[in-house]
Symmetry: C2
Subunit: 435 residues, 2 copies
């Protein structure tokens, strides 16, 4: 079979350079890489290329879901409309204690990976237990992933103490070294669950292994206020003292940012990962994305886990991000369509230090590509394909998805996993989990 695929697209939105839209262009994939973007009228089949008709579609770079707890897809809709601590203490943690296991992570991550691919997400940055098992599920699904080497100051089914978290995490790092789909990041859970000694070790090892650091930071005002009351220092400043504020850090949530913190975040090159739907659902606060963007801070986008969202729909999330940024800033020009799409693609890739490989449709990058059918009535008429993708398209309009040149969704169907089997597995877990 040929290694060359030519996708004839109505519109291509490459994300870089600039925020232009190419009309009637062909994206040529050779093996795992993007070879060229050329006007369709100028392209000739060399004889061996497979041609794919996407003339009613817009092509975008694969979406990068920069904050997930993928396996928690199996908890979707188990408990809603509850105060945060009641939700955690009476529902999520007891369920995790009861069923959290290697098998749970495998099946939950398979379900999540399938949902993400079908919605145009080609890469996810995960923080959960049994990351080796999650990586295996992602590889089976054919999705790119960054697996968190989780560190947390209490025992779980994955590890009994901090030493074991580090040891097991680094074993995962070694296991997947050089894998085409899997990289790793340190994932210390949050400032309030990881002590100074462990955080210093994260800072040192992240340099040694040259990996990102993925962490919940300033998720709520309560977190900041209680740290301040207990220690006299805001978590962000503590992380700075420990040497963690750098371009390696993905600070997730960041709903509570004091005036003097903006300059610190900008100066140290920290990446902010925005999770608007989870922040809304848990009433965690509003991340000031327009102000952060104005300072040149790199922004990425995540869904968080399906237990607090309740989907892993990055197209929906980027739309919420764009709308909410305008409302919060009081400015209808805040986070315009192109910036929202960049946040959901290149911004995530940059935060994960993968932007030399993915995040935009540029010759030489890996072919992580998503085709969105704009012929649905809800995206008619098309004045501007970018506007339709950001403000009107639904994930059900994602028809085809390529990860590293492999077509993992074809005409709306996953080519790697069996959806009926995933449904049966989800139902079986529900029956085990439901009290």
């Amino acid at each position: 079979m040929s290694n060359v695929q030519a996708i004839h697209a109505g519109w291509i939105i490459p994300v870089e350079p600039g925020d232009h839209v190419l009309e009637n262009h062909t994206l040529v994939i050779d093996g795992a890489q993007i070879e060229a973007l050329v006007p369709s009228a100028d392209w000739r089949n060399p004889g061996n290329a497979i041609e794919i008709d996407c003339r009613r579609h817009a092509l975008i770079p694969g979406l990068v879901n920069t904050h997930t707890h993928a396996a928690m897809a199996l908890f979707r809709g188990m408990a809603d409309d509850l105060p945060l601590m009641e939700w955690l203490e009476q529902h999520i943690w007891p369920a995790e204690a009861r069923v959290g296991s290697r098998e749970f992570v495998r099946d939950g991550t398979r379900l999540a990976a399938a949902e993400m691919l079908l919605g145009g997400t080609t890469c996810f940055n995960d923080m959960y237990f049994f990351p080796d098992e999650a990586a295996a599920a992602a590889i089976e699904a054919g999705i790119r992933c960054v697996m968190g080497m989780i560190v947390i100051g209490f025992p779980t089914a994955w590890a009994s103490d901090v030493d074991e978290y580090f040891r097991k995490g680094q074993a995962v790092h070694d296991q997947y070294r050089g894998h085409p789909l899997v990289t790793t990041a340190f994932a210390p859970h949050a400032p309030y669950t990881v002590d100074d000694a462990a955080l210093k070790r994260v800072a040192t090892l992240a340099e040694e292994l040259d990996v990102p650091v993925h962490m919940h930071v300033h998720e709520t005002a309560f977190e900041v206020d209680s740290a301040l009351a207990a220690t006299g220092v805001r978590p962000l400043h503590r992380l700075h003292q420990l040497g963690l504020l750098s371009p390696r850090l993905l600070a997730v949530h960041m709903t509570t940012i004091h005036d003097e913190d903006y300059e610190l975040v900008a100066r140290t090159g920290v990446n902010v990962v925005h999770c608007p739907e989870s922040n809304l659902k848990l009433a965690s606060g509003f991340c000031p994305v327009a102000r952060l963007a104005g300072l040149g801070i790199n922004l990425a986008l995540g869904t968080d886990g399906a237990a607090s969202n309740n989907d892993l729909d990055m197209l929906g999330e980027l739309r919420t991000a764009s709308l909410l940024a305008k409302g919060v800033a009081g400015d209808p020009c805040a986070l315009p369509a192109a910036a929202a799409l960049a946040m959901a693609t290149l911004g995530g890739a940059r935060a994960l230090a993968l932007d030399h490989l993915v995040g935009s449709l540029v010759p030489g990058k890996l072919a992580d590509v998503v085709a969105i059918d704009l012929s649905a009535l809800g995206t008619q008429p098309v004045y501007d394909a970018l506007s339709q993708v950001v403000y009107a398209a639904q994930r059900s309009q994602v028809s085809d998805v390529w990860v590293g040149g492999r077509r993992v969704v074809a005409d709306g169907t996953l080519t790697t996993l069996d959806s009926d089997e995933l449904r049966q597995s989800a139902a079986a877990w529900r029956d085990r989990i439901r009290p």
Copy 2:
């Protein structure tokens, strides 16, 4: 053909009485009406009933889109990310001046009606020009509608002065009197575009004709502040002086509510129509829905026009409403799933004085029913069908829709209008509208 349809559903969410979910029940439709909801195990086919298998589906009442400018679907994505006045003055109004016509309203309303039905909306409350033409398009599509007798203090293609607006509006009222799908409401555009004399006439005539009054009220802080500066009175108080605050009024947007206004709105029985996505996109402010709900004020939900949303997706809108209410109230228990669904169905029906006919799945009401397929991976597993409908389901999962017992969407396909023809029409209008 039989007039009896029996829908065997995995879950039925009737919305009233209470917020319970019925599992494995059958909804029986006789002619235009709901006859019964019975456990599927107890139901026997009398011989003539058509049986429909929705065992993977949840049935909900048809969604009521309580604020639209339907024909503006043809402007979808024409101009985004702009300040409000630049958007209106340089894009929307010039386009309306150039192409606003009977034909535009017919074709735009057909497109909007098709989009709405496919997404589970069975009734819409419209405010636009040529309401007679919009009603004809709605009837053709098979969707229920409330047509606004628009009144605005400047000439348009529909009418040249206030007298003509009233005359033509009442002619539409007379034309559709007794129609099974069409009712009317007065639709004075906004406090700042309609003078006191015309508003008094609206108040008087609304009583005489026994119809609702549909109006933009307190859409932005700017509107309230400039009225206060010019007249010394807030628009809401002016409307009160003119006798318009009553259960007839649908006050749309209401992002700016002073402390002392809450009691006034509650006491006078005004309905508040929340349009969260439009409010976010135009940075109009945040409607305090949790506080309004706490006072027992009736809440309805609308998408607004597709020029400022950019879709007519009520399932997405009710999810945004529920999430945003939590964020704005700082309370994860605000506007829980059942309340959000009630706002999008029974709340709208009540605001439109149609709640004796539609808005919930109760024997004797008209059969406006929507089936949502929950077997998609993004709504798996199902712990709670209500949670899946509100927090995870997408409108693409709407498979079947009945309006007054007529199945207008069957297996995801519209039975009344031709989608290809709608696409061609939309493309032709785009070519005329685009400068």
